[in-house]
Amino acid sequence: MIVADRKPLEEIQEMIAPYDNIMLVGCKGCVTVCNVGGLKEVQILASTLRIARKKEGRPIQIQERVIERQCDPEYVEQLRDTCDQFDAVLSMACGVGPQFLSAAYPNQRFFPTVNTTFMGGATQHGVWEERCAGCGNCITHWFDGMCPIARCSKSLQHGPCGGSNHGKCEVSKDIECVWDLIVRKKIEQGRLDDLRKYWAAKDWRTARDGGPRKSVREELVK
């Protein structure tokens, strides 16, 4: 799923400083799962902003909404009746949300309240880690189910580099060296020979380097 972090409160306060009547829209997709932009987070952020503005002597009206998915025009449509009534709209979805909202409601102003960080999952309660960089040509099977493109700080296809240190990446002791994990697993499972292979330079056209991407599924296109 897509993982995000809430923006600092001050940044959001600054965004909405000129406005007195806004809507805050959450999303029931990934950001609900990673506890950053679902119903609960919408409620918390809205009341925090209200209290802060009240203290300043400039109370603000905030309408709370949560829709199924902000990355789907069908659900975005559900805001049709109300959207343009507000001075501004804050989105609590990943970076896709404000863009789908902007496209559907060109007269409204939308602000992101979260920073979209990566594609990954929860490795323990409250901890999410990056797993995929969306390179467009998955090669995790070469590396026993681990992705060095997303998880090695240098995206090495032939690791580990000399900086690998007690299983940690040279960049930070908070980052596991995925190459250490790959090598250990290969050795444990007697597949060291796999690591004697040479992998040709990756074709990055399928990744973001080839420009923004589009998936067209002919059978679904009406």
């Binding site: 090495l156 000399g162 690998s164 007690h166």
Partner: protein
């Protein structure tokens, strides 16, 4: 081929091919366009080493480009070993720089992953890593031996480089390091320069495995030596430099030398190492990295019996 069977015909290649025990040095280009500074660093190495590694924005700190500094060395009649890291250039810039380096008279090249930019003075930078060091080695070889760019197009006058790669025998996971060395040699490395060595027993073991795997016959392996200036430096390296194995006995030995005498003790240890490397099976030379101590190299080379350097035509 005009070079009588040489791959690049560099001095380093000739020295190694003739069976001499090679001695290479290292020089970090200045943090500025200061030519005088570069000259001060490289001139003590004249006649003392067979080639001088020119670091490529080492530790991700911006410095004069390694290609430019290497070309300046060529102009000054010294032989550079042009380092290239994968951090800052994509395959387009890499190939272009390889052609440019060759046109400027550069004949040795060391292919490295490079330290992550997080360590340097522009941690905000985007990292490239279009290719990794293995793929860079293979690319330089393809350009030289097949005369083709990575995309298969013909090169008009291929760059003929003597291809180097690095190896860190002590980095983790250590069991894999000799295989990674083998991979680099398979990819096309002609010579290897190791990370600086302090743990001699462990290095002996590593070399034994490399020799048993036939690697020393397929590439020239140069053992890395950096003299310790003090016990403090040794402790710092032991603690903070990943993949650095500094035995406690060495730290003790330096401390035992007492204040004001540690640097000399560090040099003595380095000389002992060089003496042992000369005899060690599979070791074809020493890569001597005297960090900010270039002016000491002639004296150490002399004492280690590395002078005069052989002249091979």
């Amino acid at each position: 081929m005009s070079d009588n069977g040489f791959k690049s015909g560099s001095n380093l290649e000739k020295v190694l091919k003739a069976g001499h025990f090679a001695f290479t040095g290292e020089c970090g280009p200045p943090k500025g366009a200061n030519l005088k500074h570069l000259n001060e660093k490289m001139s003590p190495l004249r006649g003392v080493v067979d080639a001088i590694n020119v670091t490529d924005n080492q530790t991700a700190v911006v410095r004069m480009s390694s290609k430019a500094a290497s070309a300046l060395m060529v102009q000054a009649g010294l032989e550079p070993n042009f380092q290239m890291v994968c951090r800052d250039r994509n395959r387009i810039a890499m190939q272009s720089d390889i052609l440019g380096a060759y046109a400027l008279g550069i004949r040795n090249m060391l292919c490295l992953s490079g330290d992550h930019q997080k360590f340097g003075n522009h941690p905000e930078a985007k990292n490239v890593y279009d290719l990794d060091s293995m793929q860079l080695i293979a690319l330089v070889k393809q350009m030289r031996d097949e005369g083709k760019f990575l995309n298969g197009e013909d090169i008009d006058e291929p760059p003929r480089m003597f291809i180097g790669a690095a190896s860190n025998p002590f980095a983790e996971p250590t069991d894999f390091r000799v295989y990674r060395l083998a991979n680099k040699i398979d990819a096309g490395a002609d010579f290897i320069q190791t990370q600086c060595i302090y743990n001699m027993p462990r290095f002996r073991e590593f070399m034994k495995r490399a020799v048993d795997m036939g690697l020393a016959e397929r590439a020239y392996i140069l053992a890395g030596v950096t003299p310790m200036k003090s016990a403090g430096m040794a402790k710092y390296m032991a603690k903070f430099v990943p993949g650095m194995d500094v035995p406690a006995e060495l730290i003790k030995r330096l401390e035992g030398a007492g204040k004001g005498k540690m640097a000399e003790e560090g040099i003595k240890f380095a000389i002992e190492q060089i003496e042992e490397f000369k005899e060690m099976e599979g070791v074809a030379g020493v890569h001597f990295m005297a960090i900010e101590w270039e002016h000491k190299v002639p004296e150490i080379a002399e004492r280690a019996g590395m002078l005069p350097r052989p002249k091979v035509d």
